[in-house]
C-alpha cells in the first residue's frame, strides 16, 4: 500500500529530533503570533523565510507549516478570551466563544476548540495523504496548456472567494502578474522593466515584496489607532468539558471537519470561509438555534474544527499542483523555489521525504499544540498584555534584518520600503493584497506556460479549449468569472462577509 509506505517514510522524517524541534518551534511561534495583536501568519512567515534558508528544505517547510496552523490555534485563544479574533478565521469563534467566557466557561470553550482542532487536524492529514498522490498522478500528465488553464482557474478562484471587491481583487492579481515580469525574459534574454538596475535582472525579490506588503503595511495600519491600549482577559476556572458538552460538540466537530476539508482545497476559500460555513450549518441544524450568539458550544466546536481542517487541506493544491490557494501557500511556494525545489506534481516523486515528512509533521504538530496550549494558556494570556508600542519596533527590526540577510543586497531594503507603502495604499483603497501576491508568485509561471503552449500549437489560441482537461479547467474559470458578476452571487458574497464581520 503506497500511502501507508509514504506515511511511514514521513513519520521517520518527522520524528527525527531536528524535525520535532523545528515543528515545536513553528507551532509555538504560530500560537504566539496568533495571540499577539497586529501580526499575522503571512507576515511572520515572510519575515522568517530568510532564516529558514540556512536550513534543509524539509525542516524549513515543517517549521513554516507549523507557524500557519499554530496561528489558527492562537487566534482562537484571543477570540474566546478577549473577543478579539487574532486571525480572520477565528472571527466566528468569537461570537459564541466570548459569550461562554463571560459565563465563566472560557476554559471549556478553549478545551473544546483545541480538541475539535486536533480531531479536524488528524482527519484532514489523512485526507491530504489520500488525495494528494492521486491528484499529482493526474497532474503529471499536464502539459503547458493545462498548467496555464489551471493557474488561470486558481487566480479566478482566489479573486472570487477572497474578501472585498472581486473586481478590484482581479485588478490586484494583474498588477501582481505585472510585477512578476520585471527581470530577464527567459525566451529572448531581453531585460524588461529593470530601469538599468542590475539587481533587478533576476526579478524583484519575492521576500522583500511580501515582507513589505504584509509586514510593514500592517505596522502602518495598526499605528492608525491608539497603540497604548492593553486588553483585559476573562479568568479561566475549569478546562474540563462536561459529558454533556462532549455530547453536543461531537457532531459539529465532525461536520466542521468535513466542510473545512472540502472548502480548504478551494483556492481563496481556506480557513476563513470554512469556519463561517460551519457556523451557518450548525445554527441551521441545531434544535436550539436561539442559543447561538449566547454561548452555544456548537458555535465554537464547529467553526474551530472547520478552520483547522481548512488550513490543513489548503496544502493539497500547493503540494500537488504547485498552485497556492492563499497568501501563506504562495509564500510556501516561494520558499520552495528559493530552496531550489520546483513546485508541482513532481514534488511527490522527486522529494518524497519532503512531501510525506511535511504531512506527518502536521499531525505531530497538531498533537503538540493540544499538549502545549491547554496547560500554557495562562502564559499566552499574559502575553496579551504587551502593548503594541513595545512590539512593533521589534517587528520592524525583524523585517529589515530579514530582508537584508536573505541576499545581502541593500536595494532590497528600498524595495521593502516601497512595497510597505504600496501595501498600505492598497489596504486604504480596499484592494486585497492576497491576489496581488498570488499574481506576483505565479507571474513568471503563467507567462512561461502560455508562451510554451503557443509555441507548441504554433500560435493557435484554441489549444486551451480543444484539449479536454484544459477545456474543462477553462470552462470552470470562465464560469466562475461570469457568476462573479451575477447579482445573486454578489448578494451571497456580501451576505457571507457581512455576517462574518458582525
Amino acid at each position: 500500500m503506497e500511502i501507508f509506505e509514504g506515511l511511514m517514510l514521513g513519520m521517520s522524517v518527522a520524528v527525527s529530533p531536528m524535525s520535532l524541534m523545528l515543528c515545536l518551534l513553528g507551532v509555538t511561534l504560530g500560537t504566539l503570533i496568533g495571540v499577539l495583536p497586529g501580526i499575522g501568519p503571512a507576515a511572520t512567515i515572510a519575515m522568517l523565510l530568510p532564516i529558514t534558508l540556512t536550513l534543509n528544505p524539509i525542516y524549513a517547510m515543517i517549521m513554516l507549516a507549523g507557524i500557519y496552523y499554530g496561528a489558527q490555534y492562537g487566534g482562537s485563544i484571543t477570540a474566546i478570551l478577549v473577543n478579539l479574533p487574532g486571525e480572520p478565521s477565528s472571527a466566528v469563534t468569537a461570537i459564541d466563544g466570548y459569550q461562554m467566557a463571560r459565563q465563566g466557561r472560557a476554559g471549556v470553550a478553549l478545551s473544546i476548540s483545541a480538541i475539535g482542532s486536533f480531531v479536524a487536524g488528524t482527519i484532514a492529514t489523512l485526507v491530504i495523504a489520500v488525495a494528494s498522490p492521486a491528484l499529482s498522478q493526474i497532474a503529471l500528465r499536464f502539459g503547458a496548456p493545462e498548467f496555464f488553464s489551471l493557474t488561470l482557474l486558481g487566480i479566478v478562484m482566489v479573486v472570487v472567494l477572497a474578501q472585498g471587491s472581486a473586481l478590484k481583487g482581479l485588478g490586484m492579481a494583474v498588477i501582481g502578474l505585472m510585477l512578476g515580469l520585471v527581470g530577464t525574459d527567459v525566451f529572448t534574454a531581453q531585460t524588461r522593466f529593470t530601469y538599468g538596475i542590475n539587481e533587478f535582472r533576476s526579478g524583484i525579490d519575492f521576500i522583500a515584496v511580501t515582507i513589505g506588503v504584509f509586514g510593514l503595511a500592517e505596522i502602518i495600519r495598526n499605528l492608525e489607532g491608539n497603540d497604548a491600549e492593553t486588553r483585559r482577559s476573562h479568568a479561566i476556572s475549569t478546562l474540563m468539558p462536561t459529558r454533556e458538552d462532549f455530547r453536543r460538540a461531537i457532531g459539529p466537530i465532525l461536520r466542521g471537519t468535513g466542510l473545512g476539508s472540502l472548502l480548504g482545497v478551494l483556492p481563496g476559500g481556506g480557513a476563513f470561509l470554512s469556519s463561517f460555513a460551519s457556523y451557518a450549518v450548525e445554527k441551521k441544524l441545531s434544535k436550539h438555534p436561539e442559543e447561538f450568539g449566547k454561548g452555544a458550544i456548537e458555535g465554537v466546536a464547529g467553526p474551530e474544527s472547520a478552520n483547522n481542517a481548512g488550513a490543513q487541506t489548503s496544502f493539497i493544491p500547493m503540494l500537488t499542483l504547485g498552485i497556492p490557494s492563499n497568501a501563506v501557500m504562495a509564500l510556501m511556494i516561494g520558499a520552495m523555489i528559493v530552496q531550489g525545489i520546483q513546485p508541482g506534481p513532481r514534488v511527490i516523486v522527486t522529494q518524497p521525504e519532503l512531501f510525506w515528512g511535511l504531512i506527518a509533521s502536521m499531525w505531530i504538530g497538531n498533537m503538540l499544540l493540544v499538549i502545549l496550549n491547554l496547560p500554557l494558556v495562562g502564559l499566552w494570556i499574559r502575553l496579551l498584555r504587551i502593548p503594541y508600542s513595545v512590539l512593533f519596533p521589534g517587528i520592524l527590526a525583524f523585517c529589515c534584518i530579514g530582508t537584508f540577510t536573505a541576499n545581502g543586497l541593500e536595494i532590497e531594503l528600498y524595495v521593502l520600503a516601497v512595497a510597505g507603502l504600496a501595501g498600505y495604499l492598497f489596504s486604504r483603497l480596499g484592494c486585497a493584497p492576497a491576489p496581488f501576491l498570488l499574481g506576483f508568485v505565479l507571474g513568471p509561471m503563467v507567462e512561461e506556460h502560455f508562451r510554451r503552449a503557443m509555441l507548441i500549437s504554433q500560435g493557435d489560441a484554441t489549444v486551451f479549449f480543444t484539449r479536454p482537461i484544459s477545456a474543462g479547467l477553462m470552462a470552470l474559470a470562465f464560469g466562475l468569472a461570469a457568476t462573479m458578476f451575477m447579482p445573486t452571487l454578489l448578494g451571497w458574497r456580501r451576505r457571507v462577509f457581512a455576517d462574518a464581520e458582525d
Binding site: M178, E224, S389, I401, R451
Partner: protein, 151 residues
C-alpha cells in the same frame, strides 16, 4: 456623478494609470511579436490591456464608501517608510548595530504613546535580541560595527 474621492474611484484610477504606463512603455521599448512568435512585449501588453479594461469597469461601477476609515497617521507612514531605507544606507557603511539602532529609533518615534525611557529600553532590547539571534545564532557574515569608521 462619480465621487472621485471614494476608494473605488481612486482604485480605478490607479489601475488605469498603471495599465497605461505598462502598455505605453511596452509599445515603446519591447518587441511585441505575434501569437506564434511572441516577443518579450506580448505578455506585458496583454496584461496592460486587461488591467485597463478592469480599471474602466471599476470606474463605471463606483459605489460611495460605506464606512469611514480612521485618518491616515502620516507620521507613521513617513517614519516606517524611512526606517528600512535608513537601515539600507547604514548597514554596510556603519555596521549592523548602528543600522538597527537607527531604524528601531525611527520606528519608536512613530508611536504617539511610548515614553522616552521605554523607547530607549525598546531600542536597546530589540538591538541586543537581533544581534544575538542573527550574529551569534544564524551567523550572518556582516560586521556588527564597521571598524574603518571607528576613530
Amino acid at each position: 456623478m462619480i465621487d472621485w474621492k471614494s476608494r473605488d474611484a481612486v482604485s480605478g484610477l490607479m489601475f488605469l494609470a498603471i495599465a497605461i504606463y505598462v502598455s505605453v512603455s511596452t509599445l515603446v521599448g519591447l518587441d511585441i511579436g505575434s501569437l506564434d512568435q511572441m516577443g518579450p512585449g506580448f505578455f506585458p501588453l496583454a496584461l496592460g490591456v486587461i488591467l485597463g479594461v478592469i480599471g474602466v469597469v471599476v470606474l463605471a461601477s463606483v459605489k460611495p464608501d460605506e464606512d469611514e476609515m480612521p485618518p491616515v497617521n502620516w507620521r507613521a507612514v513617513c517614519l516606517i517608510g524611512a526606517a528600512p531605507v535608513a537601515f539600507g544606507l547604514t548597514v554596510r557603511s556603519l555596521g549592523l548595530v548602528p543600522a538597527l539602532i537607527v531604524s528601531v529609533a525611527l520606528a519608536t518615534l512613530s508611536s504617539s504613546s511610548i515614553r522616552p525611557l521605554n523607547a530607549v529600553l525598546v531600542i536597546v532590547g530589540v538591538t541586543v535580541f537581533c544581534v544575538v539571534l542573527f550574529k551569534f545564532g544564524i551567523r550572518v557574515p556582516y560586521d556588527l560595527i564597521n571598524r574603518r569608521f571607528l576613530p
